[in-house]
Amino acid sequence: MTDPTYRPDDLGLDPWTLESLLDGAEPTVDAAAPLAALIASARRPADAVELRGAADALAAFRESVTQPGTVEEPTRRTTMLLTLTRSKLVLCATAGALTMGAASAAAYSNVLPDPMQSVAHQLIKAPAPSHAVGPDATGPAAKGLCTAYLAHEKSGASPSESSVAFRNLATAAGGQDNVATYCAALLTPTPSSTETTESATQSPTTSATEDGTSEVTTEPTAPAEQAKGQSTTHPGQGAAQWTEHGRTATFPGKGASHWPKATGKPGKGHTAPTTAPTTAPTTSPQDAGSNG
């Protein structure tokens, strides 16, 4: 395409070329390559350092939302109630969702991986919690998944980036690297009450045995009790959705290692994973939310 305003001294950077660079197109002339690189660097996806104010921003938002009539949900302050000695994520996810006290099985039908979903259906036979769930199912569902994600993180394993649940989280968070920040902020209940139940930090050394129980320590809701009671039924299902290889380096881990920082108050056992990969893939597959 020619452009009447093109001049040789413009390094080939006619208006059309410049606009295409601004649109994110590959440079078509050599002289445009450095500029294209500059633009790409300026637009690099956010990293955890830039997102460290997330918890504060969310707290400010919650403060700004003053809606009389909204149920003051005790479950909102429910945080990590799981002891993950067995690290079976399906249990974590389900129990995590249930401890939110906020979900019917239907609310999760779109966000849980199929095996996880089927287990959830088996577990959620109890009547739906009586608590209000908030204005939108997105919130509670995200919290359930985040609870599972963070619990899984603490156990030392890396979630497989191909898992449906992780992809959903990545989409919600605006990228894989943001998942940890997103979840950490979302699960920081209020500035004052963060009595996070200490989770077991030991990693699973072997596959959980069939009698593996998820030791749910505190249960505000009936369904969670149900989960505790029945959790031995199908401990294996769904776990592979998150991680098939345990600690393989498929997950970049950038954001993950940052997430305690983002909360502003690293709790007990929130140490960065020691086995995090030292080198991340040069091009991380952003399969979530990509528009090409």
Binding site: P15, L38, A42, A54, G139, K254
Partner: protein, 210 residues
Amino acid sequence: MPRFGRDVTLVTVDGDQFAADLSAAQAGDDAAFLRLWLQTHPVLLRFLAVRAPDVAEDVASETWLAALPQLKDFEGTEGGFRGWLVTIARHKLVDVRRRSARRPEVLGATPMTEEPRVPDAAELAAERQATEDALRLIATLPTDVAEMVALRVVVGLDVGEVAAVVGKRPGTVRVAVHRGLRRLAATLAEQHADAGVTLELASTIQGRHD
């Protein structure tokens, strides 16, 4: 169509998702708000890093605090949302400058690199450094041009949205941005020609051509 190794950039927008998150956030959904924040805050921060690196984080925080009470009343697209926040930020910037006129608006260390100690610190630091170099280079342009370039490049606004923010005609914005970009290209070419090739950007470019 990969864009320099990243399929998703900071300025990638998803109109449907934004609309859903906005209305949910306006109804009080904190997860939706958090998604909006995650999408928008880095953009705001980088815009401010061009305009006022020394106070970028403070101004960004003040911007959100000022925006929150009005969030319910906001109507518009994601570009409009970003433009709205940037407009608030520009006002806040004036306030901050007025309060403490201690440091002039010159290039300075952006406060983004305080705690880079992470397992994959090397790669992350290199990427972050490239971003900061890019923002710093944009900031070397005349202030009004730098701002328009930042709004186009970093915030991802279109010409019309930039024009609304800065109070200029779209044609003026378009020409000014092009002029700014050409000047950046010339600067980069000079740096590349220099023996040093110091910028991380340059090595990024090298990597592409190897």
